[in-house]
């Protein structure tokens, strides 16, 4: 399959990159590893006029172990994150998520953490060849006015299947977005729009540059379900974080469910079931997992393979498994 034509831009540093983004805005797309972007281009889902490569921006590839947080440059290869001792120690959920991304031959060179977070939402009615899409009305994400996944839907219901984002949201990570004249930080949990067409709350001239994971006294875990052991996106996934006090009472809990909505779902209601409970209270875990299922079910549509009923049931199971692992 051929890629559509574009102009290739190869900035040598961050400033140049931001200048180019400011100049070309919507007409440009950032190329990191290319494992998501180039596939969508080959399928004819988008044809940017400019491709801005991050190839020269080695300055965006780092993992810094700071006193209160871990900072990760967005162009850091997935493999570096898997191999990182601080990540393994303080952000186990992220480590577990990264291990599941693609396959070894994608992780260690091309796949980047920034690319994984910004991996575009997917839908089995949209992520298709032109062979499939021809002869039908375009859906919301394809520039049209209908949704094949949910009848009468007024907007796009494509699903965020990022392993990394789900784990990072559970860890309470923050993002740094840089623009030509500004730089801002945003909680990952607040980074999403509620529209699958453009799921990320960022401007077209902004670049995602850094991820910051706060260190806590807690433990985290990530679980996902897919048909195969490799090269599959999750059909359901869950990231959890639990902090306890000296007497094993849970003082803070975060439960995030992925692959069930337009963004990873931070489920406060489910997490609230855990607060004040004992870390070893398995019955409470079950309550929380059940609550997670009912919350997540409201968001999901049948659009990433499997059946909706099954995916909803598996939310409970993935959350439970993740909680039990802590």
């Amino acid at each position: 399959m051929r890629l559509p034509g574009f102009e290739y831009l190869n900035p040598q540093n961050l400033d140049q990159t931001l200048d180019m983004l400011a100049e070309h805005k919507d007409e440009a797309k950032i190329l990191a590893g290319g494992t998501d972007l180039l596939v969508r281009m080959k399928k004819g889902l988008l044809a940017p006029k400019y491709i801005i490569s991050l190839k020269a921006l080695d300055s965006l590839s780092y993992i810094k172990d700071e006193s209160d947080c871990i900072k990760i440059g967005t162009r850091t290869p997935i493999a570096d994150i898997i191999a990182s001792k601080p990540v393994q120690k303080h952000a186990r959920a992220l480590f577990q998520a990264c291990e599941k991304i693609g396959a070894v031959s994608i992780q260690h060179y091309k796949g980047t953490i920034g690319g994984n977070i910004l991996q575009n939402n997917r839908c089995h009615h949209y992520n298709q060849s032109d062979f499939y899409r021809s002869g039908r009305q375009a859906c919301h994400k394809d520039g049209g006015k209908i949704c094949y996944a949910r009848e009468e839907a007024d907007r796009c219901n494509s699903t965020c299947q990022s392993d990394g984002a789900t784990a990072l949201m559970a860890l309470g990570a923050g993002l740094t977005l840089a623009g030509k004249d500004n730089k801002r930080e945003v909680e990952l949990a607040n980074f999403y729009t509620t529209d699958g067409i453009m799921p990320f709350a960022m401007e077209s001239q902004e670049l995602l540059t850094e991820i910051s994971i706060p260190k806590t006294n807690g433990e985290s875990a990530y679980k996902r379900l897919a048909y195969r052991s490799a090269i599959d996106y999750p059909i359901v996934c869950a990231g959890v974080l639990l902090e306890s006090d000296n007497s094993d009472k849970i003082v803070r809990a975060r439960i995030v469910v992925g692959a069930m909505g337009r963004a990873p779902l931070l489920l406060a209601n489910a997490a609230s079931k855990l607060k004040g409970k004992d870390m070893n209270d398995q019955a409470t875990f079950k309550d929380a997992a059940t609550a997670a299922m009912s919350s997540a079910a409201a968001f999901a549509v049948h659009n990433v393979g499997s059946t909706l009923e099954y995916r909803c049931a598996m939310v409970e199971e993935m959350v439970l498994q993740a909680l039990k692992e802590i």
């Binding site: 399959m1 890629l3 102009e7 290319g34 596939v39 490569s53 070894v104 031959s105 490799a230 090269i231």
Partner: protein, 165 residues
């Protein structure tokens, strides 16, 4: 579209080329340089038939722009043998019956070669993990895994290897 001049280092040699920005490394290898060992099978980064190495790491050349490959050391299946002398890994693939139709073979070899350059004597799980991004429809993987295990032994003897009698 205007063609751009680039230099790629392929199998130890610098090659001057004219490419379009949207040419993938796979297309340039196959169409411009007649290095047709690397195969296109899925063209979207799943099957691994197009796997080559960049700086020693296995990479899907179907999802790599030729422009992006500048400045790296590219190795293709054609670069595995030393002239006509096959690498241990290639020989092991042949001896163990790891080659059937052969389309996945170049990509499998490049992924396995990268694994063996980092890991001595990998076990079954490690090998299957390293090859999990390379799909094969003919062999059921068993013989490929055996071949990699054999080539990865520190010595050239392989006790569980039936083909070396």
């Amino acid at each position: 579209m205007e063609k751009l001049q680039i230099t790629l280092n392929i199998n130890g040699k610098d090659q001057a080329l004219l490419v379009q920005p949207n040419d993938t490394l796979l297309e340039v290898l196959r169409d411009e340089l007649d290095l047709t060992g690397s195969k296109e099978s899925c063209s979207e980064g799943i099957c691994g038939s197009c796997t080559i190495q960049m700086d020693g790491k296995p990479v899907r050349s179907c999802l790599t722009l030729a422009m992006e490959a500048q400045g790296t050391k590219i190795k293709t299946v054609e670069g595995l043998a030393n002239g006509d002398e096959l690498s241990n890994l290639q020989q092991s693939f042949i001896d163990h019956g790891a080659v059937q139709c052969g389309i996945c073979t170049p990509g499998m070899l490049m992924s396995a070669d990268a694994l063996l350059s980092e890991t001595l004597n990998p076990d079954d799980t490690t090998i299957r993990q390293a090859l999990s991004g390379n799909i094969c429809r003919c062999t059921g993987y068993s013989k490929i895994v055996e071949a990699v295990a054999h080539a990865g032994k520190p010595e050239k003897s392989c006790p569980d290897c039936q083909t070396k009698e």
